[in-house]
């Protein structure tokens, strides 16, 4: 006998077990109709694999397990499947569930089956699968798939196997009778479990109110090759709770949130062990179990070996149902069982007891009084909670406080309600609070998802607006730049197209890689059925983004192809360029014409000036000739005045010399201008010639006048009269000289303009050449198909696209990181993959930044 410890609290409700232990286990009568629920275990419901009308044999599989956390169901007897549909099932909710109804033929015809000759020959996994295929789940109450419980991780090293035979609930004696009558089978079942678990110590925990069962087990373990202890524990409810029994037998607490295997313990119900033995030794699937039928509502309380699917009424009738003495029908024990009101409800794998209680036995509870915090509940709680505090919090819906008081550790054993002097249905409060909290959590999750979606949508829209604005801005800038570039497009050498193209090509390949990776990830994510839908959506979004990026980059590359190295040239653009060039030519021609027109008034002015000069010159000439005539007339008579006349002649001579120099200069300039090739200046040259001719006339006149002076200096008798005339003449000559000067400067200006005209002409010629060239290339490229923006535009677009790409990648990176964070928080299995993807995206981000830098630096160099 092993040492027995204790657990906190516990109660001693009236046992009432002796009633049903007076008779041995009987076989329940075969009902006409069996209703076999497809879900009799925790986990996924099995799926019917027979059709209505099929004939099934006893032990034949009629429902397949769905997934690992499920077990199949088998026909309990031979017969015809009459219906597959909703039927009342043993469940606290009272809700119907899918059942397979079998009309029994009474033959009890077994499907071919045989046990395993040597189960030790099978591998652990095979043996566990075998147990699963026989439909075995925990028969203590919860119906946990036994295979799952036996399938232990590598980190679980089991040293103790506990067989739960406590059966602490009052009234129930199914396990008690099973142990009394079939102890050897149980030990044989332990043999199988031991083979699977290889524990160093096996403890059968049994309450000391079952002395006969203890004796039977102790007899059965004699000679057993394993270290089995039958340990009787004091009768105290709920010693049969898994955690409580573990504490009783080992003094070890299963950590909060853990399973017994975490502390090296596996616990199996004694009924389950028996079922395992039947499966291994005889190949029988789990199609029957022992059910206690008891209570004041039956005249012969007894245990029945009952086929799964047998309606309760059949069992109750077999036990002598006293309809009029039954006010409450309970499935399970009085502490944790639930009431039903439909006698057609069938027995399932976890139905261990049916209590038909009389009103005297289980009277309707009195109305609840206020909690007086007497603390009785606290003293009996096996989990050492504060039930009255939980009750206050559940009642006032302070669920956070209830959770802080470990509400979810409540095992709903009912000990607190049992002792409550105020009749408060405490367990019901806890169940309600638990459900409310779960619902709250679910609602919160839902609203979180909805909110995230909404925020994402808002972000998306905002981004779209921003992108539009940026694009518009970029377009405007590009247009302005293009306008500026157009002015000097002819002079600008084309940009280095090869480098740009290579860069774009690199980007395209990088994007392609990214898309492929994301596609792979997406496929993986989709393949994983348990991945959160949001993760898939996010992955989808990323993939689409990346595809869009790729598309854009490819387009950029395509549109960048320069005219001379690729066939894709935009005819329209070329045409436009040609048209532009011709327009420019026209404009230049117009400008030339304008310039010519502009130079016209200058020439006219000059001509006028020249004419005026001519006039002045002729008048001066006339004046001069008048004066000289006068002098000639007087010289003969007035020789005395020769002396001053000689001075005047001298001055005049100098003036003439100067005039000659000036004229020469003018002539030189004129000749120069003429040499520069203007035929329009012919008139001017003519006038200059005229002017020089006049000047020579004036010189000739001067000679005429100076000779008499020189010959008769003393005979000049009227020098005083002659002198003013000469002075005037001199002045007039000076004026003529000035005018001539002005005419010269005009001429100079004109010739400068002429030079400009020349330049314009040269430009026109070049433009004409260019037009020709462009037209030629236009013709050449006429059948090509892609667009060719001019270089400057291309460059701006290129930068914009690079920046956009960088921005996109950044956004992608951020979103990916967000997704990762979320995934981590959700413990999604895709976390590893998402991490890899983020690394890749960050590489891409670096590449994009590098590309933009390169582009900028190349622009700076230019």
């Amino acid at each position: 006998m092993g040492k027995v410890f204790t657990f906190h609290g516990g109660i001693h409700p009236p046992e009432n077990k002796h009633r049903s232990t007076q008779l041995p286990i009987a076989t329940a009568p075969l009902p006409k109709l069996l209703h076999i629920p497809l879900q009799q275990h925790i986990g996924a419901a099995s799926k019917a694999c027979v059709k209505v009308g099929d004939k099934v044999l006893k032990g034949q599989r009629i429902g397949d397990a769905q997934g690992d956390f499920s077990v199949p169901v088998h026909a309990s007897s031979s017969g015809i499947v009459t219906a597959i549909g909703n039927h009342a099932v043993p469940h606290p909710s009272g809700m119907p569930a899918t059942c397979i109804s079998i009309e029994t033929d009474g033959q009890e015809q077994w499907i071919a089956h045989s046990g395993l000759a040597d189960f030790t020959a099978l591998s652990t996994a095979e043996l566990i699968d075998y147990i699963r295929d026989r439909g075995i789940c925990g028969m203590g109450g919860a119906g946990f798939p036994t295979a799952v419980k036996l399938h232990l991780g590598d980190h679980h090293i089991i040293n103790t196997l506990i067989i739960n035979a406590a059966e602490c609930e009052p009234y129930i004696s199914a396990d008690d009778l099973l142990m009394r009558e079939r102890a050897e089978h149980i030990i044989a079942g332990i043999d199988v479990l031991q083979h699977l678990i290889k524990a160093s110590h096996i403890i059968i925990g049994i309450e000391d109110n079952k002395p006969q069962a203890i004796r039977a087990l102790e007899t059965a373990i004699v000679g057993c090759r394993y270290n089995i202890d039958v340990v009787s524990v004091p009768t105290k409810y709920p010693s049969g709770g898994e955690k409580q029994l573990i504490q009783l037998l080992t003094n070890v607490e299963v950590p909060h949130g853990g399973i017994p295997a975490d502390v090296g313990i596996v616990c199996q119900n004694v009924g389950t062990v028996y079922a395992i033995h039947r499966a291994i030794a005889y190949g029988e699937s789990l199609i029957s179990r022992i059910v206690t039928v008891t209570g004041d509502g039956v005249s012969k309380p007894q245990n029945f070996e009952t086929l799964i699917g047998t309606p309760f009424c059949t069992l109750l009738e077999a036990a002598g149902h006293l309809q009029n003495n039954t006010s409450r029908l309970i499935v399970g024990g009085p502490m944790m069982g639930y009431t039903i009101d439909d006698l057609e409800i069938p027995v399932s794998k976890t139905t261990n007891c049916i209590i038909a209680a009389s009103p005297r036995e289980m009277p309707a509870p009195d109305p609840a009084l206020a909690c007086i915090r007497c603390g009785q509940c606290e003293q009996v709680c096996p989990v050492q909670l504060l039930p009255q505090q939980l009750h206050w919090y559940a009642k006032s819906q302070e669920y956070d406080k209830a959770q802080q008081h470990n509400l979810f550790d409540c095992i709903e054993c009912g000990a607190c309600s049992f002792v409550c002097p105020s009749n408060i249905p405490l367990v019901q409060y806890y169940r309600h609070a638990k459900t409310a909290i779960k619902e709250e959590a679910q609602d919160k999750r839902k609203s979180d998802i909805a909110r995230e979606r909404f925020e994402a949508k808002q972000m998306r829209e905002q981004r779209a607006i921003e992108e539009k604005a940026t694009k518009r801005k970029a377009r405007a800038e590009q247009a302005a730049k293009a306008q500026a570039e157009k002015q000097k497009v002819a002079q600008q050498p084309p940009l280095d197209p090869v480098g740009q193209q290579q860069l774009l090509k690199q980007q395209v390949s990088a994007e392609k890689l990214n898309v492929e990776q994301l596609q792979q990830q997406f496929a993986v994510l989709q393949a994983q059925s348990n991945t959160e839908a949001s993760a898939i959506q996010l992955g989808d979004l990323q993939l689409k983004k990346a595809q869009l990026n790729l598309q854009r980059t490819e387009q950029a590359l395509l549109s960048y192809q320069p005219a001379d190295c690729a066939p894709d040239i935009d005819i329209k653009k070329l045409k436009v360029a040609a048209a532009m060039a011709s327009t420019k030519l026209k404009k230049a021609q117009q400008a030339l014409k304008n310039a010519q027109e502009k130079s016209q008034p200058g020439i006219e002015l000059l001509t006028t000036t020249i004419l005026a000069l001519e006039k002045t010159a002729s008048s001066a000439n006339a004046a001069y000739s008048d004066a000289s005539n006068h002098c000639l007339a007087t010289s003969s008579t007035n020789l005395a005045s020769t002396e001053p006349a000689t001075g005047a002649a001298k001055k005049l001579k100098i003036a003439v010399a100067i005039a000659r120099t000036k004229l020469k200069r003018a002539q030189a300039q004129l000749s120069k201008a003429t040499a520069e090739g203007t035929k329009n200046l012919a008139d001017l040259a003519q006038s200059v010639t005229d002017l020089s001719a006049k000047l020579s006339t004036a010189e000739a006149d001067f000679k005429v006048i100076s000779e008499p002076i020189q010959t008769q200096p003393a005979s000049d008798s009227h020098p005083s009269r002659d002198q003013p005339d000469l002075k005037t003449l001199k002045t007039m000559a000076a004026i003529a000289r000035t005018k001539l000067k002005k005419a010269h400067s005009r001429l100079e200006k004109l010739s400068a303009e002429e030079q400009q005209d020349h330049q314009l002409l040269a430009e026109i010629t070049r433009l004409e050449e260019k037009v020709l060239l462009t037209q030629a290339s236009y013709l050449q490229a006429k059948d090509a198909s892609a667009s060719q923006p001019d270089a400057a535009q291309n460059k701006a677009a290129k930068q914009a696209s690079l920046e956009e790409h960088l921005q996109k990648t950044l956004t992608l990176f951020d979103r990916a990181q967000q997704a990762l964070k979320k995934a981590e928080a959700n413990k999604s299995p895709a976390v590893q993959k998402m991490r890899i993807s983020i690394e890749k995206i960050s590489v891409k981000l670096a590449a994009a930044e590098h590309a933009l830098q390169q582009h900028n630096s190349s622009q700076d160099q230019e």
Binding site: P13, P255, L329, L369, A370, I372, R373, E378, L386, S422
Partner: protein, 358 residues
């Protein structure tokens, strides 16, 4: 027969709130007997008076609150409050003092808060504290436990006691010349107002201290009742024993340091309201702390406060004040004295934090 649908568990222990209250009332009987034996009919008359009043007031309140009267009055809680209050009051307190105390206890301290289970303060102590502050003279109407003349256990007759409580006590004094006064001091009073004497000298000189055996006996009665309740698992040992042990410990320390000025532990444990408080007041579940650890803290706090007020305060006894002060602290104590639940390394404490929500 139709089958009812009902949540588990389907069986219940038959012990109900009324039974618990009745058991506690039963447990007060030895104390009541002791008080009557040593101090005359006063206490018994007070108990009857208070009970009648309490049940009437309770019924009226429940009626006003539109609840089923009989259903709630039957829970015996008002009766218990009345008995405890009457036991605490001086045996010869005038009827109107008792009435006031009961009114305050039942109507103000209990029903206004929502009735049984909702009151933050112990109703009996609220009633007691109020009359103690309001009617200090009447609240000292203790007689010497019994008449010393002729060495017989002679107490005031029933009719005379009625006259004292409901009428004038002057006549009674004149009729019974051996009674000095009805405002005799209790041992705690005597020890508090020593007029410069040492505790030892008070013991030797005071008549009150000569009769201290009566107080011991009454305390013993309460103690017996309390042990009965612990045995019947009406409450756990935590609160009463903690109170007694803490009080004994503190008084022992001070007595050891200065026996001339500080009373010995026995006096602290056996006189005044210590025993009544430890087993019948501090154990009131409604207004005390919840968990076992909490009850220990709660009771220790009361013991400390009782000692402080008794020794250095203005009142000879302080149980009512101490209990009410600790009633205030009970929710706070509850927050920090959660037990360690199964499977946890350490108990939760304090307010729920956000992390606990998941």
């Amino acid at each position: 027969m139709p089958h009812i649908r009902i949540s588990s568990p389907h069986v219940q222990r038959p012990t109900k709130t009324a039974d618990i209250m009745r058991l506690v009332i039963i447990a007060t009987l030895p104390g009541l007997f002791g008080m009557t034996f040593f101090f005359g009919w006063g206490t018994l008359i007070n108990v009857v008076l208070a009970s009648v009043m309490a049940i009437s007031l309770e019924a009226i309140c429940i009626k006003l609150r539109r609840r089923p009267v009989l259903f709630y009055v039957r829970d015996n809680s008002a009766l218990l409050t009345a008995i405890l209050l009457a036991l605490a009051l001086p045996p010869f307190a005038p009827w109107w003092v008792t009435a006031t105390a009961v009114f305050v206890a039942i109507v103000i301290a209990k029903q206004i808060y929502g009735g049984l289970g909702q009151n933050p303060f112990n109703p009996a102590m609220v009633g007691y504290a109020l009359v103690l502050i309001s009617f200090p003279v009447e609240m000292t109407r203790w007689t010497a436990p019994f008449d010393l003349n002729g060495n017989t256990w002679e107490v005031l007759g029933f009719a005379d006691t009625l006259t004292v409580i409901f009428g004038s006590w002057q006549e009674i004094i004149q009729a019974h010349p051996y009674i000095d006064s009805f405002t005799s001091a209790t041992p705690l009073d005597t020890l508090k107002h020593r007029n410069g004497l040492t505790v030892e000298e008070v013991w030797q000189s005071s008549e009150v201290m000569a009769n201290v055996g009566a107080w011991y006996a009454v305390s013993l009665c309460y103690f017996v009742g309390g042990i009965f309740l612990i045995y019947r698992k009406i409450y756990t040992w935590h609160a009463p024993l903690t109170l007694l042990i803490t009080l004994a410990l503190i008084s022992a320390i001070f007595f050891a340091i200065d026996p001339d000025n500080y009373a010995d532990p026995l006096i602290h444990l056996t006189t005044g309201a210590t025993m009544l408080g430890a087993f019948f007041i501090v154990t009131d579940p409604v207004s005390s702390a919840t968990s076992n650890r909490g009850k220990v803290v709660f009771a220790a706090g009361i013991a400390i406060l009782v000692y402080i007020v008794r020794t250095w305060g203005n009142y000879p006894d302080a149980l009512a004040f101490a209990v009410m002060l600790m009633n205030l602290c009970a929710p706070f104590i509850d927050q920090y004295t959660q037990p360690r639940s199964y499977g946890y390394k350490k108990p939760n404490s304090g307010q729920p934090s956000k992390e606990n929500h998941s």
